[in-house]
């Protein structure tokens, strides 16, 4: 998401490139464009107004002829204001007597149940918590069943509610159960409700009063329009919200709702949902998202994702082996391919890198995983001996490998060549100062403007 806002703002700002200083007219014209961009991005009208006022104030209050070019200057201010608007991150309040109760609230279809499952897995994996989840949605058909299925699939405990019971009774019974089973965290899923539905809002206020959650999270669809302001402020008034989770951030919505909701509730956005898979929930970083809005890429998120998904033990083992002078084998190559795939493939990585803005979407995805899968298939068709000693692969072996993997001999050749190059690179790495040389080589290839 956010790409469109990025595009709009960069086109505005590129108009200003090459000018020595900003005139009043420049500022007004730019801010008009920024305003339209934000409106198109579904940032709520009052929030846009505040934002523009802030930026104008910041520009007016400062000397124009600083050492920055006008373009950089505007980027800097808009960036800083975006961060201020979205606020700094926050954390879940888990340091409470167990069980820590987390109540989820939101409109219909915001993604509460999916987020509960993601959060349950996140808490277990990242914090080693014993998690139980309960659904108090007795209204939507099969809502309780949905959470139960997710619990079975992803191995977290579920309190089985009965749709015939009152939501409050289910929540209270789940509290009892979580206590007696010494759970660290109880996640309470609720039915989607409209902020104008007094009865339903009353119900969740009651649940809140009964279970006294340590965190009350508001789940927001990042595709939400102007109405984000109304629903967010109504929920914020009814419940003492402690944080926000932004869902469906992997869509192409411009994400204005993030700014709006943050602005009207004053509560931190804790997480964002970035895909359909269970582990596609990431911590929200206002500074990173602001950077992404401005076309600076999202390198920090990428680093975090790599850290989380790559298997550290395996990576360390490989590193140790290499530094000891061991050679990089096809088996290692195969593992690397696997890890790459785990991170969502090449497209997912490229998506987050700066300086690679608009690749045609279809082209990216096609390029993506198929190639990785093919390479893996070729390696899988080799014997263990061949994998350890690729030099033994002769013509007839190549033919067998190609047949076994459903590829052509040329593909096998290409893989072996690629592997050969990688091996050479790895050897260079092991030499003294190898890493430094390699990095120097890399940075020369970076797009201009990203070298500091």
């Amino acid at each position: 998401m956010f790409e469109n806002l990025t595009g709009r703002l960069s086109s505005v700002i590129s108009k200003l490139r090459g000018q020595a200083r900003l005139t009043e007219e420049d500022i007004s014209a730019t801010l008009r464009e920024v305003r339209m961009a934000l409106l198109e991005a579904d940032v709520a009208v009052p929030v846009v107004k505040d934002f523009i006022d802030h930026v104008r104030g910041r520009i007016d209050g400062q000397e124009l002829n600083s050492s920055l070019t006008p373009g950089q200057y505007i980027i800097k201010i808009v960036h800083a204001e975006l961060i201020a608007l979205m606020g700094l991150g926050g954390e879940l309040n888990l340091n409470v007597p167990a069980p820590a109760v987390i109540l989820m609230a939101g409109l219909q279809g915001a993604g509460k149940t999916t987020t509960v499952a993601k959060l349950a897995c996140w808490l277990r994996k990242r914090h080693g918590k014993k998690v139980m989840a309960v659904s108090c949605d007795v209204y939507r058909p099969a809502a309780i069943e949905q959470l139960a299925v997710l619990g079975r699939q992803h191995d977290f405990e579920i309190f089985p509610g009965d749709p015939a019971q009152a939501p409050l009774a289910i929540a209270e019974a789940a509290m009892q159960k979580a206590r007696s089973r010494f759970m660290d965290v109880l996640l309470v899923d609720t039915a989607g409700r409209l902020h104008v539905d007094k009865e339903m809002m009353g119900e969740i206020v009651q649940i809140h009063a009964a279970i006294k959650p340590s965190d009350t999270l508001f789940i927001v669809d990042s595709m939400l329009g102007q109405d984000a302001v109304n629903s967010a402020s109504a929920f914020n008034q009814a419940l003492p919200l402690s944080g926000i989770i932004l869902t469906k951030a992997d869509g192409d919505a411009r994400g204005g709702a993030a700014l709006s909701v943050r602005h009207v509730t004053g509560k931190p956005i804790l997480f964002m949902g970035t895909g359909e898979k269970i582990d596609e929930l990431s911590v929200f970083h206002a500074d990173r998202v602001a950077s992404r809005i401005l076309g600076m890429g999202d390198v920090l998120s990428l680093i975090e994702e790599v850290e989380q998904k790559t298997d550290r033990d395996k990576t360390e083992k490989l590193a140790k082996k290499l530094t000891k002078g061991g050679s990089f084998s096809l088996v290692d190559f195969r593992e690397q391919l696997d890890q790459m795939r785990k991170m969502g493939g090449i497209a997912s990585l490229m998506d987050k890198l700066p300086g690679l803005p608009k690749l045609p979407e279809g082209a990216m995805q096609q390029h993506n995983d198929r190639e990785l899968i093919r390479l893996a298939a070729i390696i899988d068709s080799m014997t263990p001996g061949e994998r350890r000693f690729p030099a033994t692969i002769n013509g007839s072996r190549k033919k067998r490998i190609a047949n076994g993997s459903g590829m052509q001999i040329q593909d096998v050749n290409r893989l072996l060549k690629q592997f050969d190059q990688m091996q050479k690179m790895m050897k260079r790495l092991n030499k003294k100062g190898g890493m430094k040389n390699l990095m120097r080589g890399l940075s020369a290839n970076l797009p201009r403007g990203f070298r500091r």
Partner: protein
């Protein structure tokens, strides 16, 4: 707005003012919150719509009234404020500029002096945008059976709920309906549609979770043919429109239906959430490109204060608007009709 006043200001608009209430005081004709209205108990769709859209009117009309307090003539700041209001209602930059252009043109010709005239022009503009997309689904008995309604959309817009309501709607009309549980991805989606099937007494064709969606729908087509069902409503998993692989899967489902019988009348119904902002346009464009959307259903109009995105939609893509969802009950899914919709949206006599 009192009907007789509208008549005085713009006789052409009389036919749109099917108000159910009568205002006593004239000076505050745009302020429903301050008007002593004698409301006759009005049954039916208009009333429900009006309740559903109350928040929209609160934004559009109250504020327009506030704007004009103590202002005899309309000036630039007033027009700017109206523009803001339209943007706030999610009309989008394009549709807003179109309406504002007309408003400004009228103002320039000095025809607009009062709020009533502004509302009249607004109404006219909105109607011009929405009337062309007011087309309900026509069931043609002479065509091959079943009439397929393939329900598509992004995650969480209310596809399965809409299917439940649609099933009840057609059931009530006496049609022979069959449901296909094509969402094989989301946990318990099959159970959800099966519950709707039990509630409405309509058979549901389903396979196991994780089955190929196209296969389920093909199965359902065969079953519908065997049973001579008139309508087959097929669910699909929610998918974000920017996921190429998932959209490719949807295109495959669409092809499967045509391959079963090219003569089948197929409605590819895109479900859009009215609380969605301008992204609804991107959704409609992408789904249209991959699956050939033939109709749109707009859900959750009872929750949003605005629902103005349908103006942007009707303006940019001329895809027919079939139904609107204005509440949680099965009968709260209504065929879309532009006039009562705008009437309810602009009516200040509630």
């Amino acid at each position: 707005m009192a009907p007789d006043l509208v008549a005085v200001l713009n006789p052409a608009l009389v036919r749109y003012s099917i108000t159910t209430s009568h205002q006593v005081s004239i000076p505050h004709m745009f302020g429903f919150k301050k008007t002593a209205a004698v409301t006759a108990p009005a049954p039916g769709i208009l009333d429900r719509l009006r309740n559903g859209l109350q928040k929209t009117r609160a934004v559009l009309c109250t504020d327009i009234e506030d704007l004009f307090k103590g202002k005899p003539a309309i000036d630039e700041s007033v027009l700017d404020e109206i523009e803001n209001r339209l943007l706030l209602a999610d009309l989008g930059v394009d549709a807003t500029s179109r309406i504002m252009a007309a408003l400004r043109a009228e103002a320039k010709r000095n025809k607009l002096g009062t709020a009533a005239e502004v509302i009249a022009v607004l109404r006219q503009q909105m109607l011009e945008i929405l009337l062309p997309v007011q087309q309900n689904i026509e069931l043609d008995a002479s065509r091959a059976r079943p009439h397929v309604i393939l329900v598509v959309g992004v995650n969480g817009v209310g596809k399965t709920t809409t299917i439940g309501k649609l099933a009840a709607y057609y059931r009530q009309l006496g049609s022979d309906v069959l449901l296909a549980a094509g969402d094989t991805f989301r946990a318990a989606a099959i159970e959800q549609i099966q519950v709707w099937g039990r509630r409405t007494g309509i058979p549901v064709i389903a396979q196991h979770s994780g089955a190929d969606s196209a296969a389920v729908i093909y199965d359902a087509l065969q079953s519908a043919r065997a049973r001579q069902a008139e309508i087959l409503i097929a669910d699909t998993a929610g998918r974000l429109h920017n996921k190429d692989n998932l959209m490719g899967e949807l295109a495959k489902i669409r092809r499967t239906i045509s391959r079963f019988d090219p003569e089948l009348p197929v409605e590819v119904m895109l479900v859009l959430d009215a609380t969605t902002g301008q992204n609804a346009l991107a959704q409609a464009e992408q789904f249209h490109k991959l699956a050939g959307v033939t109709g749109i259903t707009l859900t959750k109009l009872d929750g949003t204060a605005k629902g103005g995105v349908i103006f942007a939609l009707a303006h940019k893509l001329a895809i027919p608007l079939r139904f609107i969802g204005i509440g949680e009950q099965a009968e709260d899914l209504r065929p879309f009709a532009a006039e009562p919709f705008i009437e309810a949206l602009l009516d200040t006599g509630a």
